[in-house]
């Protein structure tokens, strides 16, 4: 017959867990995070590097996430959701580099573009929020607060994620590429090879606490100089440190291999 424990103090729980060899398996209910099963339901996945920037650990359906400063940051935000099967749409960005999007791992077949939505772009965004999981909207000018609120409410109601790119008021999470730089390019040699992107977060509610993360692009190595750690699993690349002088000069000496004449 099972023994019934009466737990009175937190130390009782700790003792019990330790005595039954359950350390690491039992957690208090307050530490519960959504199970991966729940990710597909309410939370769309994001790259591991960016996960810490979101209070929910991913793009919560119905939320508004403002992105600024870098198209690469925008693309890296869409990557995991798109490769997990979500549909994405980008409104008002005729210059978006789709080759880069494909290199990030975004499924181009599920990435719809509306390059020129015209003056009626809010209606387009609202229509897309009805059926598309992540809708990126790059408004052509300043957006009235009331309009931003209406579109955010539409996203909340339909369960889509609205990602404004540019000026916006009232976003739940604000991601900005605050610093960054390219490595791999010397004076007349090498090639652009690795992009460091420092992303800082602002926001409201649980996201009000400022945070920073570093994203490296591309995530898996395009060159393979010794010591750069390109064999690391993708999840660890986000924690790579910036190149120091010796490594950087090694990369910049690597041959360009691109000068082929057609």
């Amino acid at each position: 017959m099972a023994k019934i424990f009466t737990l009175r103090r937190p130390t009782d729980v700790a003792d019990l867990v330790r005595s039954h060899g359950l350390t690491g398996l039992v957690r208090p209910a307050s530490a519960h995070v959504p199970h991966p099963d729940g990710v597909g339901e309410r939370i769309l996945p994001v790259l591991p590097e960016l996960r810490g920037l979101f209070p929910a650990g991913g793009l919560r359906r119905g939320s508004t996430v403002l992105v600024g400063g870098s198209t690469s940051l925008l693309l890296s935000l869409l990557t995991s959701a798109s490769s997990a099967g979500s549909w994405c749409a980008v409104v008002g960005m005729p210059d978006l580099g789709l080759v880069a999007a494909a290199e990030f791992g975004i499924a181009l077949g599920r990435l719809a573009l509306v390059p020129d939505p015209g003056p009626d772009w809010p209606a387009v965004v609202a229509a897309l929020l009805d059926g598309i999981d992540v809708v990126v909207a790059a408004p052509p000018g300043p957006v009235p607060v009331a309009l931003a609120g209406r579109l955010a409410a539409r996203a909340r109601q339909r369960g889509g994620v609205l990602v404004p790119y540019g000026r916006w008021t009232g976003a739940d999470v604000v991601l900005e590429a605050t610093a960054g730089g390219w490595s791999g390019l010397g004076r007349g040699r090498g090639r652009l090879c690795r992009h460091e992107l420092v992303v800082s977060r602002r926001g409201r509610g649980a996201a009000a606490l400022p945070r920073q993360a570093v994203v490296w692009i591309p995530r898996l190595g395009c060159v393979d100089p010794p010591g750069l750690g390109c064999v690391d699993p993708p999840g660890d690349l986000g924690r790579l440190h910036p190149l120091q002088g010796e490594q950087a000069s090694k990369i910049s000496r690597s041959p360009g291999q691109v000068g082929a004449v057609a």
Binding site: T71, S72, D95, V99, L113, P117, A127, I132, A179, G259
Partner: protein
């Protein structure tokens, strides 16, 4: 080997011409292909017209000969009712060519009592329903049955080789082989069948072996039965004739859903929709709607509603209330889009996305919503083809493209290249020198025109100004790193399309990186790494 029954209509091209063109088949009629007679009526044959004669020769033998051009499509079209008539009595009819069709003899002979009774019944039914004279032959295999049908013979089971043995070798319908065999002294199918198969293969080749098998009565190819096309039409008769548009729209929606369900059940979708209505005065109205994409249930309902609206609201000669409505898919294509994905993920979410995108297309036009597809090319802009939503996407290019820029690709690709100027350390513009050299090391860059938003420094979004602001162009931004020139000389064989150019990658002091292109002395930004 299965007993095969073959229904043969003699001189079918002539009969078909009589049915379709209305010529009298009892007069001398000849069908010509490439100025040679391919078929003629009995009356013409009596006058001496034979297959293979030239037109002039045939007319000289029979001056009042009616000559018609050969038209296989006409023959096939006219034969369709005959096949349908045979199908009413027996299942599994295979059309061999216009004028003859075959079926397994077992079913009808058991049903009608004997092969003779079945043959008689089929000939009678074809004659009654199509006014066409037919003959039936039964033997083992379609080849032997075809020969038996010429004489209307029912070959007894097991006697097929003996039946074939006495027939002239020309029945093989292989002129070159027949000619050769005749010169070798082989005049009948029986004599040909008596040759050893291995020697026939060695001497005459593979096709002759097939002919040899036919001649020996071993036609083992099973009949490929014609499957009648599925009946996709939906229709409804209304007890109370429809007079008002809203009532018609309600009926249209129900019919559209039924049609859509039926199509989906066959894995089909509809590209052309036929709408037919019968009014209370007995008038038949008919209209076909065409659609470039696939018609969904809502799309079908909309079109039916529009059409009924047009008919019912017609001013002047009012057609009257509608008593019967029929929808028939005129053009169908196979479409798996209605089927759920294997893992259940592709279904509902994709449908929702499709609806949303189709709706935006309805707002802005079909070309306003695009998806990108990777195709071959050397510059980032060339490697993407934008496909309007709903159109077929090209297959992804997997071939290597020498001269392609290395990864990572620029995250922004301006639609129109932004003109810039690049200066060396002394302030002189950098140009291309002989043998892919450059006149100086790039040290500074200035935007010639108003810089677009894409090329602007990375700044917090709250500070980004709208793109209408024109900045002074005199600012020279220092270049901290560069690589190049990487030449591309595409389409040099077509002078007006050729665009010899070199590409550079440069890093600016503020952390941005640009892809620059130098074409005949003009610098431009063709990609922004940001």
């Amino acid at each position: 080997m299965s007993r095969t029954m073959l229904v043969w209509c003699p001189d079918w091209p002539v009969v078909a011409a009589g049915l379709v063109e209305g010529v009298s088949v009892h007069e001398p009629v000849a069908i010509l292909a490439a100025n040679r007679v391919v078929a003629c009526s009995v009356a013409a044959r009596a006058e001496g017209v034979r297959g293979g004669l030239r037109k002039r020769e045939a007319q000289s033998r029979c001056p009042h000969l009616v000559v018609l051009e050969d038209d296989p499509a006409r023959d096939a079209r006219a034969f369709e009712p005959v096949v349908a008539a045979v199908e009413e009595l027996a299942a599994g009819v295979e059309v061999i060519r216009p004028g003859s069709c075959a079926l397994a003899a077992r079913g009808p002979s058991r049903y009608f009592g004997s092969e003779a009774a079945a043959a008689e019944r089929i000939v009678e039914h074809v004659a009654q329903s199509c006014l066409v004279e037919a003959q039936v032959g039964v033997a083992e295999g379609a080849f032997a049955a075809g020969l038996a049908a010429r004489t209307g013979r029912l070959v007894k089971p097991g006697e097929t080789p003996a039946f074939l043995a006495g027939i002239d070798i020309a029945a093989l319908d292989r002129p070159e082989l027949v000619d050769l065999l005749r010169r070798l002294g082989v005049g009948t199918l029986g004599a040909f069948a008596a040759l050893p198969a291995a020697d026939v293969l060695g001497r005459f080749g593979l096709d002759a072996v097939l002919a040899h098998r036919l001649a020996a009565g071993r036609d083992e190819r099973p009949l490929a039965a014609r499957r009648p096309p599925p009946d996709l039409d939906v229709g409804q008769t209304f007890d109370e004739p429809l007079e008002r548009v809203d009532a018609a729209a309600f009926a249209a929606r129900q019919l559209a859903e039924r049609l859509h369900e039926r199509l989906a059940g066959h894995g089909l979708a509809c590209t052309r929709l036929g709408i037919a209505a019968v009014t209370e005065h007995g008038a038949e109205l008919h209209r076909t709607w065409r659609h470039d994409g696939l018609l969904t249930a809502a799309g079908i309902a909309d079109r039916v509603r529009w059409q009924l609206d047009g008919w019912l609201a017609r001013t002047g000669r009012r057609p009257g209330a509608i008593v019967r409505l029929r929808l028939y898919p005129d053009g169908v294509v196979e479409y798996a889009g209605f089927q759920l994905g294997l893992w259940g993920d592709a279904g509902e979410e994709r449908d929702r996305a499709h609806r949303a995108l189709t709706r935006v297309q309805g707002m802005l036009g079909p070309d306003a919503v695009v998806t990108g597809a990777l195709v071959g090319g050397r510059d980032p802009g060339d490697r993407i083809r934008l496909v309007p939503w709903g159109d077929e996407r090209p297959d992804p290019a997997t071939e290597p493209w020498p001269g392609r820029l290395p990864e990572p690709a620029p995250a922004s690709v301006p639609r129109e290249p932004l003109p810039v100027e690049v200066f060396d350390g002394a302030g002189a513009p950098v140009r291309l020198a002989a043998r892919l050299g450059i006149t100086g090391e790039p040290a500074g860059l200035s935007f010639v025109g108003p810089p677009a938003a894409a090329a602007r420094p990375a700044q917090p979004p709250a500070v980004v100004e709208p793109s209408a602001v024109v900045e002074p162009s005199a600012v020279v931004e220092p270049i901290t790193g560069w690589a190049g020139p990487w030449p591309v000389d595409e389409r040099w064989w077509a002078p007006e399309e050729a665009s010899p150019r070199v590409r550079f990658q440069v890093c600016l002091a503020d952390g941005r990186a640009l892809l620059l292109t130098l074409t005949s002395g003009l610098w431009s930004v063709t990609g922004v790494y940001e």
